[in-house]
């Protein structure tokens, strides 16, 4: 089982839902924080990290002894990451998308691949909950390849909960695709609803079943409920605004630790999702 938790808008409570659900389920569960630009789940889970690896992407390296300056590598590169000027080949690693076209097209075998650091992937556990996250190197622009590395730790035999980045562009898609269910966390405000509709469009494109959590459900207005009904999206949990929750969050504490009565609600949330996924598969 792979559940991705997404939101469109940032700050709606994605990480809160992801971490509390993981901790409530207790065992046979793994949390993968794919918000690699700003990973926050670890601040609440305080995992013990036992493995850290640097993640790389591939960039071209030119052997100028073999190179005949034929420009084929520069011509195939749609990202303009290679330029040939007189008897020099320049590479621009930050523009490279690692497609490998330059390697294939070089008639002299003068292009090999070197590594560019994307960031790190750390693995560990918090109690019985397994934990993985990626941390993008500050100054690095491309997050999807690092998200892929984090996702390579998905284990088919347990429950995998993915904390996705906000938005609807490529990093979000990289986190949500090929999951069994997308749980969208929103808040009932005009900003929340607007970004939710964009997020739902992205989920539809990927053709994944989807449900909602409405956080701070007693602020704003009722438009999000109307939208959910119109779109036939099940509302699986409502979390009212509670200063105690906000305060616990500010200190890096989990809702279920401060208010244990919430544990059952998060387990119920998971069971709800499990049933929806089962129904979908039949």
């Amino acid at each position: 089982m792979i559940i991705s938790i997404a939101s469109g808008k940032g700050g709606t409570g994605k990480t809160t839902v992801a971490t509390n659900m993981a901790v409530s389920l207790g065992s046979d569960v793994q949390l993968l924080d794919c918000d690699v630009e700003e990973p926050n789940a670890h601040l609440f889970m305080n995992p013990e990290i036992d493995k850290m690896e640097t993640a790389y992407t591939l960039i071209p390296e030119i052997d100028e002894d073999k190179c005949t300056f034929c420009k084929k590598c520069a011509e195939i590169c749609r990202f303009k990451a290679i330029a040939v000027v007189s008897k020099t080949v320049l590479t621009f690693p930050e523009l490279c998308h690692s497609c490998g076209g330059c390697v294939v097209v070089c008639p002299e075998n003068a292009v090999t691949e070197a590594k560019r650091e994307l960031g790190v992937v750390e693995q560990g556990s918090s109690g019985k909950v397994k934990f993985v996250h990626g941390r993008l190197r500050v100054g690095e622009a491309m997050s999807p390849p690092l998200i892929k590395k984090v996702r390579s730790h998905i284990r088919p035999d347990i429950i995998n909960i993915i904390d996705a980045p906000p938005g609807t562009s490529c990093p979000v898609i990289a986190a949500m695709k090929d999951t069994d269910f997308v749980l969208m966390v929103t808040e009932p405000t005009p900003f929340g609803l607007h970004d939710l509709t964009l997020g739902v469009e992205a989920v539809k494109l990927l053709n994944i079943p989807c449900g909602l959590v409405i956080n701070r459900s007693d602020i704003g207005n009722k438009d999000v409920w109307d939208y959910a009904e119109k779109e036939n999206l099940p509302i699986l949990l409502e979390i009212p605004f509670d200063r105690r929750i906000a305060e616990a969050y500010s200190r890096g504490k989990m809702i279920v630790d401060e208010m244990p009565e919430w544990k059952d609600k998060f387990i119920e949330l998971y069971n709800h999702i499990k049933n929806l996924v089962k129904r979908e598969k039949n």
Partner: protein, 119 residues
Amino acid sequence: MKIAITSKGTDLDSEVDPRFGRAAYILIVDTFSLGIEVMDNSENVNAFKGAGIQAAAMVGENGAEVLLTGFCGPNAFKTLNAAGVKVANDVTGTVREAVNAFNEGKISFTDTANVEGHW
């Protein structure tokens, strides 16, 4: 000596285009005869990516030793540098004025890009 100048038009009285990669035209001017070779840069203007790098490679191939322009980003600068083209930023006025300023030794060259990359 041949120098390259980014230009909004195709003659000496055109205004210098402050953009490099996405300049409308790049003129290759002979500093003695004031003869002009016009390079249409429209392909780069509409380029999705790497306009500066492409334009820089083009300038290098056309044998210019110097580029006079307004702004030059880091990737274009790196490419021009490799092609042995010296760069002067913040050039304004008409192309003719720029060439005259160059001939009178009033142009100073830079050793860094003066704008951030544009993606």
